[in-house]
Every structure is written in C-alpha cells, then in structure tokens.
Amino acid sequence: MNPSANNRTEQLEIDASAKWPVLVFFAYGLGWLLLGGLMQVAAAMQLHTPAFLAGCEWVTHGRLTPAAQNALVYGWGMNAAFAFGLWLMARLSATTLRHGGWLFVAAKFWNTGVALGVGGILAGYSTSFELLEMPRFVSLLLLAAYALVGVWAITTFSIRNTENVYASQWYIFGAAFWFPWLYAIAQVMLFQAPVRGVLQPVVNAWYAHGLYNLWFVPVALAAAYYFLPKILGKPVANYYLASLAFWWLAVTSAFAGGSRLIGAPVPVWIPTMGIVANMLVVVGVVIVAINLFGTLSGRFEAAKSSPTLRFILLSIVSFILAAAMNLALSMRGFAATVQFTLLDGLRDWLTFYACFSTAMFGAAYFILPRLTGKEWRSTALVKLHFGATALGILLMVVGLSYAGWTQGRLLNDATVSFTALTQAMTFWFAFRTGTLGLLLIGHVAFLINFVWIACPINSQGTATATLRTPPALSLEGHA
C-alpha cells in the first residue's frame, strides 16, 4: 500500500478541521493560565506579606487562593485538555472534526462558566469545597459545555476510520467519561442533595483525586504515549503491557482518594483503603515507566533538539514523582508530620502542573505549527519557556519538600507557638512566591510565541512551516 501520500492529505484535512476549535481552546487556556498564575502569585505573596491586598474584600486570601486554583484547573487545565484531546482523537481516528462550529459554542459556554465561577468565588459565593468552590449554578453551564466537547470526542472516536485503537485513545476515552461522572456525582452529593456529616469531605476527596488522576493524568499519558513514537520513530517498548497499565491505574486511582483523609474523623477503613490503593498504583506506574523509558532508552539525545520531547520527558518524570509522593504521603507516620503543610499541596501541584501542564506545553509545540502552517518565531523564547519550567519544577520539588517537612515538624511540636512557626516559614513562603513567578515568566514567553504563531494579524511576520512527510514506523526499531 502507499499510505504516505494518502496520510498526508488526510492529515492536512484533519488538521484544518481542527484548527479553529483547538486554537480557540488554547487561547482561552493560555489566558486563564496567565490570569490564574497572577492570582496564584498574589495569593502566595499574601502568605509572607499579609498586608498585601488585605483591605480589599474581593482579594482577601481566603477568596484569592481558591479563585486562583479554579482558574488554573478549570480555566487552563480543562481548556488545554479539550484542545489536545479533540485534536488527538481526530488524528488517531483518522477522521475530521465534523461541525466544529459547535465546539466554539462549547468553548464560549465553558469559559463563561469558569469566568462566572471564578468571579463568584471572588465575590464571596464560594462553597469552600476543594476544587468545587465555584457557585452551584455554574455547574450546569460547565456540564452543558462539557457535554458538547465530550460528545464530539466520543463521536469522533466512534466514526473512526482506523481498525485499531491506540493506547492514547483509551486514555482520552476513559477521561472523557470519568470527568463528567465525577463532577456530576460530586455536585449532587455535595450541593443538590447534600450528604451528611463527614461524608462530605469523603466525596470531596474522591472527586479531587479523581479529577487529578482520572482526568488530567490520563490526558498527560495520552500525550506521552503518542509523542514518543511520533517523534522518536520507535514503537513503544513492551507495548503489550500498556493495556494492563491502563486498567490497573484506572481501578486503583479511583479508590485512592481516601488517602487524603488520613487522620481525619472518618471511619479508619476509608483512609486505609486509599493507602492500599496508592500502594497498588505503583505497579501501574512501573509498567508505564517501562513503556515510556524503554522507548526513550538510547534516544535521550533526541530531547536536545526537540522541545516537545523535553516537555514530555519532564511530564513523565513528574508522573513518577507524583506517584511516589502519593505513596509517601500514604505512609501514616510520614503523613502525621507533613499533613496540612506545603508538602501536601505539592502532591497535587506535581500532578497538575509538573505532569499535566508540561505535557500540554509539549503537545502545543508540536500541534500549533501543524494547525497554523507557521513555525515558532523565537527559539529563544521556547528555550526560556522550557528552562523556566524545568528550573521552576526542580525548585518547587526540592524547596517545598524541605519546607513542608520543616513546617510539619514545627506544627507537631507543641512547644512551638504558631507565631514562631509563621516566622520560621516566612522564607519558604517567599521562596514559593519566587518560584511561581519564575514559572509565570516561562508562561509569558510561551504566550508571546503563541500570539506570533496563532493570531492572524501578528503571525504574518512568521515564516511558514515546512513539514516533512513522516515515514512509516518500523518494527525493527523496537528493542
């Protein structure tokens, strides 16, 4: 067969059909990334400089923190996931994204919902449940928007022209269903027909863990499984284990939410179950590591010349690190010390930012030239983006681990007064603010490049991209 020529035409068509929806989602996502990032830096600053923005009710710390978190998760995270997921589903199903106009509607609805939600939090209508702080009425808007996106992804999958279903498609397919179910059930059990007593935090923990590990992580893994063979020209190592990893991770991650409730006034079997689930997750993570690092082995040189590969590598390493951190925080002795500290927050940050967001950055560097037909104008900004992100992640992990450990030891030392604790932590709060600022610089660099490549007026100065037709993947490379 002569697939190459056919593939190229088809792919151009697919990319053309996906262009505007994906660009719009990415644009919204980047806007939220910047706005959420600024809010996050401001909130972080309030920890060591409490007088900062203190007088204004709209940006008091208790409102700014959840607003920033929601802006990043539902604004940046979800928009980026939609953009990438839709494009990848279309590509791997070898079919165009039909009636893309509806996706504009979805984007508008979703982002209006998020804007109303974030604004609602700042105005004082927060529900105070982690990741569900947005006022109740917003949930319908978000679910309606999601329905459009989800239906598009699933329909594209169901009308696929390919005989085989690749690993990335399983992950996107799974995530596409898990998120709305998680979100809808959490909304019902917490707000529509509120459950009783401490069951509320249990539902909240199940939702939060599910959002990170059954939506964001699968999308990141879908990216990793796709871009590694795509860029390295080598099949995934030990691919026959990939489906086992998928199901194993799915089942175990769903139960691991209880590990967020160690020591909480919930029946002790709930955190125990979460701990056991986190122990079992390790097996799935090991298999994914075998798959992905096996593919990379001997080819690490390629990362020097590929921004996508660099970011994906960062993402994979962070995935493993996040799983390790989840496991560590499940050890009761360790949890007793570092619960409720900065280290606890690091767990989710690693999953959402270091694993998922970096994967999305990597995906963007690959996808956007293909959609717009232009190349990235400034390689310096690309390198700055990667450098800032990598350095920022390193600083956060090392710094906050140490800071969280210190904070935990002081918290559990009954002779240390809270003011003494705060004074001891001031440096680390400032450190955290600085690191978040560094990451924000990288994002600004990315935004500038994005505007140059994607916005029709600004991109006229950008050179056209020359894309070579890729050869077929060969089996001999698999080792």
Binding site: G62, F173, F177, P265, P267
Partner: protein, 224 residues
C-alpha cells in the same frame, strides 16, 4: 482493545466500583449515625448551631477561611494536636461531631491553628471578652497575635466618627498602633457578629462513650 463498547463498559465499571465501594458504603455507615442522648441530662449531642452561628458559618465559607484553617482534631497517638501547648481539643474529633453541620469543612491546610474547638479556648475570660478578642483578631490580627500572617479583614467592620452619636457599646478597644485614629470607632458589622458567634460555637465538648471506648489505643502487648 478494539471494541468501543467493551472500553465503555470497563470505564464505567471502574468508576462505579469505586463509587459503590467507597462512597456508598461510607454513606451507609455515616448516614445512619445519629445523635447521642446523654442519659444524665437527657440532651441530644451534638447540638445543631444556633441561627446566628449558622449565618456565621456562611460568612466563614464566603471568606474562605478553610484555605488556611482545619477543623479536625487528630486522635491521640497521631500527631500532637492534643498535647499541652497546642491543646486544640480535649479529644480527637469523631464523625458524630459533624452530623448536624450543614457544610463540613475539615480543611486541608494548617497555615493557621485548628479551629474545631476554638470556642472552648476562652480560659477564664467571659464569652463577651472572648468575642472582643475575635473581633480584634479579625480587624487587626497583629494587635492580638504579633507576627501572624493572618490577613486583616477590615471590611467586616464599620469605622465611623464618634462625634454626634453615642459611642457604641460594641466598639473595639484597639491599642493605639492599630486604632483608626482619634474620634473614630470600629464597630463590627452583622457579618462579623455572625462569624464570631459561629467561631464561639465551635466546641466539641461531649465525649461519646462508645467512640471513646472504641478509639482508645490497644494495650501494648508483646505481639504488637
């Protein structure tokens, strides 16, 4: 896996399994947890919040206090919440303590102290004096807790000149460094009053006999 349907069923089953295993079973257990009637004084515990305190709970949610404060005292033997110096409670929190709370905000961050029993930390002070302490903490945290990083909430208070009216009985007595200036007084708004009522209602004083007996540490044996 080629079959979309098989994939869908598997995806559904994994989430359904965790929902049933974790949430449904927990619901069966916690949903059937009732109030406990003390045989001596024939009162049901835990008691629901008073109306003003309930409104204060809404203010607590609105201002996002949960992002820095937890409301869960950990059990004896796990962390040091009950030790002298911290004394965040007489005992660890039980699930039954929360069954009458409409929103349970046990929190995840301890950037500030745990608040579950903050209403019972008044020591020798009278409730009105303790309330004053809270008002000062909310208006100018540095005035009662120097070096804290708790943000000030001046918007919960009304600062107005005293001239031409009776000085308010509820005006805060602030040290000169934090006082608004001569001729001005700081009076709590209804939101502040409700919030402080809520904070003062936070006390889990009753010790349920069944929970107490079941949560006492096992006697140390050689085998363990």
């Amino acid at each position: 896996m080629k079959n979309g349907l098989a994939l869908f069923l598997g995806v559904f089953a994994t989430l359904a399994l965790s929902w049933a295993g974790l949430l449904l079973t927990a619901h069966k257990q916690i949903g059937s947890l009732g109030q406990f009637k003390d045989p001596a004084d024939e009162t049901l515990y835990p008691q629901p919040l008073s109306g003003l305190a309930n409104q204060g709970r809404l203010v607590y949610q609105d201002l996002g206090c949960v992002s820095c404060h937890t409301q869960q005292v950990r059990q004896q033997g796990f962390g040091n919440d009950l030790a002298e110096g911290r004394k965040w409670g007489e005992r660890g929190s039980y699930a039954r303590d929360y069954i009458r709370d409409q929103t349970v905000l046990i929190g995840q961050n301890r950037l500030g102290p745990d608040l579950r029993n903050v209403g019972s930390r008044l020591g020798d002070a009278k409730p009105e004096e303790y309330a004053q302490w809270f008002y000062k903490l909310l208006y100018a945290p540095q005035s009662v807790a120097a070096g804290t990083n708790m943000p000030a909430h001046p918007f919960l208070f009304d600062v107005h000149p005293v001239a031409g009216r009776q000085p308010s009985a509820h005006a805060l007595a602030l040290p000169s460094k934090f006082a608004p200036g001569p001729g001005l007084e700081v009076v709590p708004t209804p939101r502040a009053v409700a919030l402080v009522a809520y904070l003062q209602s936070l006390k889990d004083t009753y010790d349920y006999p069944t929970e107490r007996s079941r949560n006492t540490p096992a006697p140390k044996e050689g085998g363990h």
